[in-house]
Subunit: 256 residues, 8 copies
């Protein structure tokens, strides 16, 4: 549409139906943002390997279905986050190749194309302090795998038994990004941040009670980390951490 | 006084000047709390080795002096906490053997008697995550020493360089109580709590900025510690931690 | 495993298959943490009388079962906290000698060995301000009993009727540790802390409404206690208080 | 003015210059609030014995002076609260019989008339948990005395030494209202509320540090008091508590 | 019991079986609190017209029943607050003359004796800003009526239509205490406090959403009231406000 | 009634049955507020086009019905907000022409009169950052339409894809008021505020999780907007925003 | 520049040096934002009558001067907010016709042109609850006057003396926008919102202490206003309220 | 030292002075952490190019000097953060080649060695929403330059004038990491996150007032960003963001 409009304008200039001053004026007053539309949109697509992600929590099953179908018209994959089993069942009834992972609450449609294999370079390690943090960890890990990033997992290695952490230290040193997921007091991030040289993405979880403040306690712990190289995302936001890790891995791959 | 009053009453009963019903009534309506007064007071004295502690922060120099002088009439030592240099100078002008420790802000008068030597049993280890936590640590350590408890110190052993903690692990295993002082994210308490078997008293400090929330971040960290055997006191309350440690050491000594 | 690896290395040195410089290098690069593994683990076992405690709140019944079974392979007791009736029923179906206490939400397997009698030295008093605080109190008391520590209880002795507290004062003076559990305004801890000489562990509870802030009101009260010798644990954390009390009792017993 | 206007209207009606429908209309559209003006104003005067109180904290010395002078034109007393020494000095230069009490920060002009003696009925007891709470207590006590209410004081009777409270229990039982002022953990209010039958007005103070949250900790304590008959005012608001106590005393006096 | 013990002691003194020094010692070491027990208890009874109130929210039906039955052994009335319909039904099955008011969630047993008529002196006005605040208002009003205090009600007179408040101003001027109940922004308390001379007890309610913060918004409004003579109780605490009002009314009656 | 009373009084004055001083006194003591009653009430009616709005959330179906019926006696429309389907069904059974919109939770009775067409002047644009914000947006939009204000909608134009916003910029420039509804981080308001010249009413929504703090995160974002011309209402308060927009549109129409 | 670039491109098309496809591509990839630059900028200028406002609080005097001078190169007026006296003095030394208003902390340069008179249509009323709120009120009022909007002021009309508000009710009914400024409990906004039909912009102020929470108490009050037609801006943000009022007045003027 | 000890042990084994079982025991009980000491330490050194950073805020000048001198014994550079001018002056007196940057409060000693040139690969863009955020931005930028990372700056490009952001969009697309620094509402991060594909590190600043909550408002904004690829660090923590960016850049360089 925009393209047609612009082509017309340029044709008019070329063929003398529109003098340059008027063309200039038209270009200036043409809603500039429309010019940018496709470019940004494509850019988004290239960037994340996922055209759009559907945050399912406060959407109706019908809304989710309609958005997913619209995306699938032009893309080969779509990801839904925080889908409960009821919404997932509804989608699966309508999109037969959609896959639902109950633990991570991810709803995925993946119609892989030829070059969609796991990338060779870059590994993200996803670790948790406790067993209860695993659902958030799986949201991060499965999102990364959906984005064709290599993932290693190490769960339940919290600092109250520091030797459990040391048992996986070799893997920690190999990782290009570590996603460190912890509820309760969240101290794992500081200890890991003090051991490794790669970026550490902390994800506080709402695991705990009382003063854990639904995840604010570990969040504050992570933000005040005395270790360097640590940044965080929202409470329970495994997906968000995965997108940060993905953006770092992509940057590494770009330069190779 | 109470004693006189009671003696008189009993004498009156004995000698028939007061019948039992009236005596009973008098005893019942006698302010019961006065009966308990001296007992509780003595108890307090025996218990803590310090008759009273003067919280200097929101008192005038004159108030502090007057309270300290009153205590010294019947005791051989008195402790003032959170005294600033100006208040300390005022007290030192009037109580010539008072000692002021600027770092810990403690103001002490100690006129030791014969049996006031450091107790042989029981050792409290006072550790800090950072150099900036030392004033709080010294408040704890010097209060304990004032109470004749043996103290060992290890400062700046925060978890961002976990090896620093391991360097003092022998001492940690020897301690009967560990006072663990940390600002910023306060993760040290969880790691120490996971290593040792003795009680750990956490003291969050107001060291930090932004989301450290003047000490609430490390406080929440410590309260949510996934390690067992950890309890905490108020932010920056080195004195409070020392009184808890002292009460534990006294309990140990009692049974020997 | 580690042991085998090390034995092999030393044998190689002894028998000249490995020169000292290479052995040194191997030792240095050997993940140091593995050396410490067993030691720390054993230590943990000795320390708490409980090898591991399973926090059941955010685990699936299957996860709880699997962890408990793994622990029971090498230990004679295991404790689950915050288990709801559904999870407990599942476990009891699979572990026939597991015991569930609904009030405290504790799930216990205890296969006592010979020397597992209640220790003679040391008594922990568990008191509550109100009737509604009893579940938290029972979590503390039953955990201590599970750990073979002697417990005395006194419930519903809050300060609004101060005489109720005085009625149990003899017991208070006998206790080696007092666990003081209170919701609403939590003032009991300050009054008790002012009466006794032993350490007082405060446990704020989420009993109350409105400004009780799910337990933050009594928590702040306890943290600001003007009495000395008081430390606290997380809101509703009866188990945590029990572990602190246990660590103190163990320290007392160690010196006898 | 209003009066004149109304008189005129009624005269017009009486003398037939204004028919009733028009008069009705005029009365209805007359700004109703002006009718009420004097009445409310007088009412206020009668009610509190103080026509207006000047909150000095965020006013300039010139503003304070001008307001006080305007009030004194029609009244025999005026009270300024939270005046710092600089503002007080400025006022005292211009109003020679003004009195400043540094501790309570009250600035008073009192030109007593014949019937302004201290009322015989009703006594308010003002108590504090600590010495540091005295400035707030004096704001309450001196405000009440300024309003001719009889006051008794008992300071530094906090619950950490419960016998100190019992020492003044006779006075507590005599009081018609108790103003209970406490910082840190504020537990005094609950204990007093449990002992007495008269209304207890709690005033949390900002005395303390860390988790005292500038007075929010004792405020929450008081709001969650398990004792009955307790209500509170703003942090450090000794003046506010005095006005509540005064309104109760006035009500008692009204019925005599 | 105590009485017997004391009588025995005095008899022993009288008859020479116990010398005064020993008697003195026994009296001193006799748990002082027991002396006070009955006195305080009676005092409590006299004071509030209700021996004890049962806070039902976090108690089991069985606990509530047992406490109520115990109280009814020695008293003619008992009050339960925050009882849900299930708990109430259980109690009503076992205590046939118990009455449940669903709106206020009060559970009452009242076996009036001769002099239990509504007192002639003293009237408490209970007002609400909105219709949604009525349950809290009824908790206050019905508690007062249970305590034989005269109550007037005026509901839904919030400040957004200020004329609704003025419509009941005559009653407001007559009241001896006003209980002012408001959620959302809670402004009613300030306006009422500015109109009347009697004490105003504010009760913030949790009515509202978003920034009402479950009642903290109106609570803060009331605590910062620029009107004098206003004190508050906990959020939704209609019962608490009633006990404050009752204590004021009793004080008025005492002097008549 | 008031009118009758006043007429009587004026008649009495006119006919000499009441002298002017007494009349004056009567007028002064006549509850002034009643004079204002009808006027204010009418005023309210004129002002908002809606006589009263019923906040249904914490009212019983019976209360809602009774209030709506009372309003409909004298008005041709009534609006209920935050009605759940159960309450709506109850009302619809009794008020047959009531309409319920499930998405916006609005319950409407509209019996339009002749001049109730949508006003020609003034357009309010209702925009949302996400799909999940639509229920709040519809509450705003449908309330405005109920008030005969012209509305345009543009949903799901959040800043993470800034081109989506630019696509509707023409409409944004035409709007007289923009209601900007956003949860999560709420940044849309700032960007829109920086683009347009009309007033922007921000409505933070509780869409999000963790640190969105049930809408406080976008609320703080909007309050700190670096763009000018932005004001906000309570979280999720689409209705409130509509009333602000309506008051602006009415002001515009008034001057035409 | 952009213009030149575009002209060149169009000339190239016109003269056949660039075919349409290439031109199209160039236009699409041309940073779209630059096209929009001047337009938006002009738009901003037209919209607010102020090209840019300098927030002085966290800028150095040198930064403020440099920004102001740059703006004055192309505009006839500039406004600085939150300038302290030191910064103001520095600016006045360098910009001789700059004017500083100490109370509102506004720093203004106004070099009026012919049509800069106060607009005839539209009046904004600026009211405050207390005297202490005046600085914020003056920031709002003087900003509006700087923008050539007619302002009326009424200060110190808080609800504790509701008649003071009624005294200015005529003016309130005339206003097109009311800016309602209040600290402490902020109830004025609700009462005013209930009286008038025009939009009301609330500005909470940080006047108060303790639970006023530096302005959060009145902010919450205003956000929860039960009156309709009320929106708010940031605490103490008189300037922000003025820009909202200005945008409304401009909208009114646009349609005339 | 450790090395000597180990060498001795191995020699003893080799030469038969120590049998393998004893050696094993010695190795096991040898404080394992010491083995790891140097390794971790070296690792730290390699990783960050800075052996240790001195957080100057709560340290005395003497402490800072002593730590810096100790570090410089074994390293060629040291960085101090949050140094005020007084502390900086003290250090500069004693370490003559130390450099102090007042704006960023960085205190640097850099004695570059041969290969310390700015790395060719990798560029970090540091952007701010406002002029007031520049000090935090300079802390980030200068820390990166100190670590030999290439930096581009773009300041004052906040979203209220979205075109300012678009003017630097080319640079944004080139960056490998973007550090996005914003106070007030912090919306810039979301918009940038929506435009670019590289990781975005948000740094909320304490610029603002009232509801900016000393930086919590922009922090919450950033944590709830609806854009992907965004993580954050502590408020005002420019240094922390630099260490995250540095760790990413190092990872990119590692793979080249």
């Amino acid at each position: 549409m925009d393209k047609n409009k612009l082509t017309q304008l340029l044709n008019d200039v070329k063929e003398g139906r529109l003098d340059i001053n008027h063309a200039l004026h038209k270009l200036r007053t043409l809603p500039f943002e429309n010019l940018g539309h496709t470019k940004i949109d494509n850019h988004r697509d290239l960037r994340q390997g996922i055209p759009e992600v559907v945050y399912c929590e406060s959407k109706t099953p019908e809304q989710i279905l309609s958005i997913m179908q619209r995306i699938l018209e032009s893309h080969n994959k779509v990801l839904g986050t925080r889908a409960n089993p009821e919404k997932a069942a509804f989608i699966q009834k309508h999109i037969s190749d959609s896959v639902y992972d109950k633990e991570s609450r991810l709803l995925m449609v993946n119609r892989p194309e030829e070059d969609d294999a796991i990338k060779k370079t870059g590994m993200v390690m996803v670790i948790t302090a406790g067993t209860s943090d695993i659902p958030v960890a799986e949201e991060a890990a499965k999102t990364l795998e959906f984005l064709n990033v290599k993932v290693e997992r190490a769960f339940d290695i919290g600092v109250a038994g520091i030797h459990r952490l040391f048992d996986v230290s070799d893997k920690l040193y190999e990782a290009d990004v570590i996603i460190c997921i912890a509820g309760m007091e969240g101290a794992l991030t500081s200890v890991v941040g003090g051991l490794v040289s790669c970026p550490v993405i902390g994800v506080p979880t709402s695991v705990g009670y009382g003063t854990s403040l639904q995840g604010f306690a570990p969040m504050l712990t992570m933000l005040n980390s005395c270790a360097t190289g640590v940044a965080i995302v929202n409470i329970d936001n495994g997906f968000g951490a995965a997108t940060v890790a993905n953006s770092i891995i992509q940057r590494i791959q770009k330069y190779q």
